[in-house]
């Protein structure tokens, strides 16, 4: 069942088109990764979803209700962490957390203490003294301390250290295990890869790809590092091999997922001493998409 559905969403700021026909669907119990470079339109999409911005065209529905006109009703079941957490300098973190939890409606006191401990936050300090990471922690504690059905998180880890990122991921998986849904925007691709069931990629206001990670594998490349008994030759002639680099005795290169079989066959003929392969990252997926697009554009022009 779909919890969140964005249909052909367009948002213009004056003449500037920030979002151009965006479609997103998040199902119940699913973690959806919303990826794009800076300025792609992630925050804009999310702010339309929250009814803070009004869609120019198209619509956004959450729990089947309209994101703009039924905002308050929807928000009773949503937890949101903004990308840029600005807090009131003269309130303490503890006060802000309480206020935020209270403003949603339902309260969960024990969870609050537990999360404050977990995130190692001092709730008696004024927000003025908090670093970016600490402000983000305040928003995260407030979000996870409330029993929401949908968590909307806009680049929530951009200020957190790796240890805190770990804890954040635990929190996300924890709410998922309770059957809740998550919309997680990020430009940190490895994070999305670890957590998300499906991803959507946005660039310059347009969704360029979406689907499950395995569906997007055709866009990805495996990184390989091989050392062979005989000198490895003929790589350049093979299809689907990229970025060949000689390193001491070994050779590193990238292989398109669909050409993997051919390449391994070719390489094994030289007597493999060492073979390392790293799974494709979303970075590659990204690169690959644009390359493909450039190629097809060039092709179209000729």
């Amino acid at each position: 069942m779909s919890v969140l559905a964005v249909n052909n969403l367009t948002k213009r700021f004056g003449k500037f088109t920030a979002l151009d026909g965006v479609n997103i669907e998040v199902n119940e119990g699913e973690i959806y990764g919303f990826i794009g470079p800076n300025g792609a339109g992630k925050s804009t999409t999310i702010r339309v979803l929250l009814g803070i911005l009004k869609a120019t065209q198209g619509n956004a529905k959450i729990f089947g209700q309209d994101a703009w006109s039924d905002a308050v009703e929807i928000h009773k079941h949503i937890a949101y962490v903004p990308g840029d957490v600005n807090l009131w300098p003269n309130l303490t973190g503890g006060e802000v957390i309480d206020l935020f939890v209270k403003l949603r409606g339902n309260n969960n006191k024990s969870r609050r203490e537990e999360l404050i401990q977990k995130y190692n936050l001092d709730p008696t300090k004024k927000c003025r003294t908090y670093s970016k990471g600490n402000r983000q922690k305040v928003a995260l504690v407030a979000a996870f301390a409330s029993d929401a059905d949908l968590y909307i998180l806009d680049e929530p880890t951009s200020g957190l250290d790796p240890l805190m990122e770990q804890i954040f991921q635990e929190c996300v998986l924890d709410v998922k295990s309770k059957g809740k849904s998550v919309l997680l925007s990020s430009h940190v691709l490895s994070e999305v890869e670890k957590l998300c069931d499906r991803v959507g990629i946005i660039r310059q206001g347009k969704m360029i790809e979406s689907g499950t990670l395995s569906e997007l594998r055709h866009l990805t490349r495996v990184h390989m590092l091989v050392e062979t008994k005989q000198t490895l030759t003929g790589l350049y002639e093979l299809e689907g091999v990229h970025a060949i680099e000689e390193k001491d005795q070994a050779v590193s290169f990238q292989v398109d997922a669909e050409e993997l079989d051919n390449v391994i066959k070719h390489v094994s003929a030289f007597g493999i001493l060492k073979l390392e392969s790293t799974p494709p990252t979303l970075e590659d997926l990204f690169m690959r998409h644009y390359e493909q697009k450039d190629e097809s554009e060039v092709g179209g022009a000729s």
Binding site: L50, L53, E73, I78, P89, L91, D98, T124, K125
Partner: protein, 533 residues
């Protein structure tokens, strides 16, 4: 070491001038225009010495002295009139300009993290501070020169070169003085709001101390920088000594600020930071609770200010009474209004100024809603189960109550001080009524603020121009003999002047209706627009 503290002050100075390349010229043009237009108008309106003496007669009372300071009433030339009516008032405006400009370049930049970027460059620790002071000094020297020579260039007989230059220099001097004050508070306070708040508090106190001093106790006036401004006796005796006092104290303040800046951490202040609450109080659990908490300190400060202002004006009433008793001509001139003492007849002209000042805090309270939006903090509320109506409604309620309280406090202050110093005392109902009758006009201003926030938030600060316009019209309206429609462009122009005038319910009711319409339109607009971020 010492040299490295000041490194690159010059570059920062040029950078600030560039950032303010519109702001400062606009301030200067505004103030100069204002300074020059008034004597020109006086020449038209009070052409003969006879007319001017007539005016001087009505000015010769403590209530006026409290408001505009002492003047050379014996020899009321155009020059004497200009310096009497305008110098102090313009000095206050120049002081405010200094406060805003300094706060903007010091604590506000620091609070928003911009100074941190600057400090990471090879730039001295106190360079920013001194570049700011330099910008302000240059600005005020220019102000002094153009107003000074400008006044002289008008070619009005009683406005000689020395007096004109002293006039300009007094404005520049007070500007430099308040730059010094603000730069110290920018070190002491951790926020730009605090910096501006404390500095304006000093400005108001200085004004009031002078008011009380000018009426009764001349030594008291010498404590206040505004006292120094009026002691220059521009276009009469032309004393230059008070200027040395202003600049001297400003230099001391500047050195103090340099010292404080050099020994403190970036983004820290000197006022002690109290450890905060671990949990939110029961009070801080709703948008309205949050809004009150955020503005609490400021509102209390304003409330005290309003009360003190009421008391200050009220305490003048006793002197006024004594003054009338000894002046038969005045008694005959003003006795026409039946049923009211002469003193009471002065109340409307005090009230309108106080009502207008009391409009500032509620309008600020309303505009705070947009201030929060610009700082991206509204998302936290609207992203939760808070509707836009509830959010805006919370701010509106605070603003409306705030305005009522502020007006009431001025009336209470005026009445209680007046009652103690006057022989017969004052009727509380009369005073309170004379104050509250301005409430509908205040509601229109608040309604306008709501409308701006709902429809054209970026232009919200235009409302201050409107408040300022009203102030000018009411302050100078009688003096400059404006046509009626000029006053009627402001809601305050429709308020009956109680207790002298009859109460009129029609304009009052219409104003209330207009206020409600503005508010509804604002709410509708707020519902339809994007929240900025």
């Amino acid at each position: 070491m010492a040299q490295s503290l000041f490194k690159k002050t010059g570059s920062l100075f040029r950078f600030m001038l560039r950032r303010d390349r519109l702001r400062i010229p606009l301030w200067l043009i505004g103030i100069t225009f204002f300074t020059l237009i008034v004597p020109i108008a006086f020449v038209d309106l009070y052409a003969s010495q006879h007319e001017r003496d007539g005016l001087a007669e009505t000015m010769a009372n403590p209530a006026v002295t409290a408001m505009v300071g002492p003047g050379d009433l014996e020899n009321y030339t155009i020059g004497a009139m200009t310096s009497h009516q305008m110098l102090l008032f313009t000095a206050v405006v120049v002081g405010l300009m200094s406060i805003w400009l300094v706060a903007r370049h010091t604590r506000a930049d620091e609070e928003d993290g911009r100074i941190e970027m600057i400090r990471s460059l090879p730039i001295g620790r106190v360079s920013n501070l001194n570049a700011t002071l330099l910008v302000l000094c240059v600005t005020h020297v220019i102000l002094a020169l153009i107003t000074g020579f400008g006044l002289y260039a008008l070619g009005i007989e009683s406005m000689g070169l020395e007096g004109s230059l002293l006039y300009g220099a007094s404005l520049g001097g007070i500007g430099i003085f308040f730059a010094g004050v603000t730069v110290v508070f920018a070190q002491l306070s951790e926020s730009s709001r605090g910096t501006i708040g404390f500095s304006i508090a000093v400005l108001l106190i200085a004004y009031l101390v002078r008011a009380v001093g000018d009426v009764g106790n001349e030594t008291l006036s010498w404590i206040s920088p505004f006292g120094w401004v009026t002691q220059t006796e521009v276009y009469a005796n032309n004393h230059w000594e008070p200027l040395a006092l202003m600049v001297g104290v400003a230099i001391v303040l500047g050195v103090l600020a340099n010292y404080l800046n050099a020994i403190r951490d970036l983004e820290a202040g000197f006022f002690p930071a109290r450890p905060g609450r671990k949990k939110a109080s029961a009070f801080l659990q709703s948008p309205i609770g949050l809004a009150v908490k955020l503005q609490c300190t400021g509102m209390i400060a304003w409330a005290i200010g309003m009360l003190v202002m009421g008391v200050a004006y009220g305490s003048v009433l006793g002197d006024l009474e004594a003054f009338f008793e000894g002046n038969e001509m005045m008694e005959q001139m003003l006795v026409a209004e039946e049923g009211y003492t002469l003193t009471e007849q002065f109340i409307p002209s005090l009230m309108v100024v106080m009502a207008l000042l009391a409009t500032v805090p509620p309008v600020m309270a309303m505009l705070k809603l947009y201030g929060e939006e610009k700082k991206n903090r509204i998302d936290h509320l609207l992203g939760r189960a808070v509707s836009r109506t509830r959010l805006m409604g919370s701010y509106l309620i605070i603003s409306v109550v705030n305005g009522f309280v502020m007006l009431s406090l001025t009336a209470i202050g005026l009445w209680s001080a007046g009652a103690t110093v006057m022989e017969e005392g004052l009727d509380f109902g009369t005073i309170y009524g004379a104050a509250l009758v301005y409430y509908p006009a205040m509601l229109v201003m608040i309604g306008l603020a709501v409308l701006f926030i709902g429809v054209l938030p970026k232009l919200g600060s235009v409302i201050w121009l409107y408040v300022f316009y009203t102030f000018i019209v009411l302050y100078l309206g009688g003096l400059l003999d404006f046509p009626d429609w000029v006053g009627h462009l402001s809601p305050y122009g429709y308020i009956p002047e109680l207790p002298v005038d009859e109460m009129e319910w029609v304009p009052i009711s219409i104003l209330v209706i207009i206020a409600v319409i503005l508010m509804i339109a604002g709410f509708i607009g707020y519902h339809k627009r994007d929240i900025e971020g």
